[in-house]
């Protein structure tokens, strides 16, 4: 048997509402003609049908999950990708500063200036940590 879809469940629920309304109208139109017991039985049917109709709408919503599972995963993956691209682009200035600090260190090493070398190493650490 084919699986019930969310749309079919929604339509089904509409029929339950219509049915409950029809029973209700029948009860109200024949209020005095119906015995107390008959009225109670019909009333219980009416309330139960309303309850089922509402439950079916909630069920219809739960059925949606199966229908969108792949799409949910796709959108979530794209969102993660976007965030990582933002991080990459945002990290560019930091990358430049680190590269610049490394170039400065290279120049300091060539100059054999001890203090410049120490300062440059500190510069790399600073650039990395900002």
């Amino acid at each position: 048997m084919a699986k019930l879809t969310s749309k079919q469940a929604n339509e089904l629920s509409g029929h339950f509402l219509g049915l409950a309304q029809a029973i209700g109208n029948f009860r109200y139109n024949n209020w005095d003609a119906l015995s107390k017991k008959e009225n109670k039985v019909l009333g219980n049917f009416q309330w139960s049908i309303l309850n089922y109709g509402e439950d079916i709408l909630a069920l219809s919503t739960n059925l949606v999950l199966d229908e969108v599972e792949t799409s949910l995963t796709q959108i979530e993956n794209i969102t993660t990708d976007i965030k990582s691209t933002i991080e990459t682009i945002s990290d560019i200035p930091k990358g430049i500063n680190v590269a610049a600090a490394i170039v400065t260190l290279g120049a300091a090493i060539i100059s054999t200036n001890q203090q410049a070398i120490v300062d440059s190493i500190k510069g790399i650490a600073d650039a990395w940590n900002t």
């Binding site: 909630a58 799409s71 949910l72 979530e76």
Partner: protein
């Protein structure tokens, strides 16, 4: 005729500078407006579980039951809320990220930090003159900003392309859940009230004053439900508007910075803002 290499270079530079000025305002503004419209979900102040709990309370009143605790089995309804929240978070997350990347400003990026040490010294046999260093610095900064912008634009185009199909489905289902399922739950609530008050009237146990009071109470509740349903309708309509706008972005993804698209996105944005105002009015 011999072409001037300088002219060629200037032309290339000009093209790069144009690309560097890519304006993604349309994407950025639309994403921000969509995220704002979507977040009205948190102002709906109604959900499936709440509906179930209220029904449970109503049934107890209707049957004149006094219980120590209202024992309601609302698991299916709570699950329906969690499905809605899952879809909501997923769509909102996408638009927030799309807005973030489109609005990411790279105009301040420059290579001065790298250029500075180059200007300060002699590199092997190469001696860089100050004017050469300045020219090199300006060109490299321009190319660098342009390439970062082009990269950003290329990625956005890719994301819009990949996201469109799943997003359309999610928006459609989210609209179905709220604009149909949840709204129709309220039709049941209306019917329940109608049944309750009709029975009350037909039972003839009320004084004239009590009858008037109960009818007034019935219409007050009916009006409240109507407002709630209207909110859901507006929200569902805004989801459809977002879907149409994203489809437009997808169709015109190769021309994201054109004025035509900017105008179209601005129209969608205005429609969403109008819906937001109507939604707010109902909330008050």
């Amino acid at each position: 005729m011999r072409q001037c290499p300088f002219l060629k270079f200037t032309c290339i530079l000009f093209l790069f500078s144009l690309m560097g000025c890519v304006n993604l305002e349309a994407v950025s503004d639309f994403s921000v407006t969509s995220a704002e419209a979507l977040s009205n979900y948190e102002n709906l102040s109604y959900g499936f579980k709440q509906h179930c709990e209220e029904r449970c309370e109503f049934n107890a009143i209707q049957q004149s039951q006094i219980k120590r605790t209202l024992d309601c089995d609302c698991r299916t309804y709570a699950q329906a809320d969690s499905v809605s929240i899952k879809i909501y978070n997923s769509i909102l997350g996408y638009f927030t990220s799309l807005g973030d990347i489109a609005g990411l400003d790279v105009s301040g990026y420059n290579l001065d930090a790298v250029n500075k040490p180059l200007q300060e010294g002699t590199f092997g046999k190469v001696i860089i003159q100050p004017e050469q260093a300045d020219a090199y610095s300006s060109i490299s900064n321009l190319l660098f900003r342009a390439s970062t912008d082009v990269y950003k634009r290329k990625k956005i185009k890719e994301y819009i392309k990949e996201a469109n199909a799943p997003l359309q489905l999610l928006l459609d289902k989210f609209s179905f859940i709220l604009g149909q399922n949840l709204k129709e739950e309220l039709d049941f609530k209306k019917e329940r009230l109608y049944a309750f008050y009709t029975e009350l009237k037909l039972n003839d146990g009320l004084s004239d004053f009590e009858k008037v009071e109960s009818i007034a109470s019935y219409y007050d509740q009916l009006l409240e439900i109507d407002h709630q349903q209207e909110k859901l309708e507006i929200y569902a309509a805004s989801l459809k508007e977002i879907a149409m706008a994203h489809q437009e972005l997808y169709d015109k993804r190769s021309a994201l910075s054109t004025d035509v698209l900017k105008q179209e996105m601005s129209n969608y944005g205005s429609a969403l803002r109008d819906m937001g105002t109507a939604f707010k009015k109902l909330k008050e």
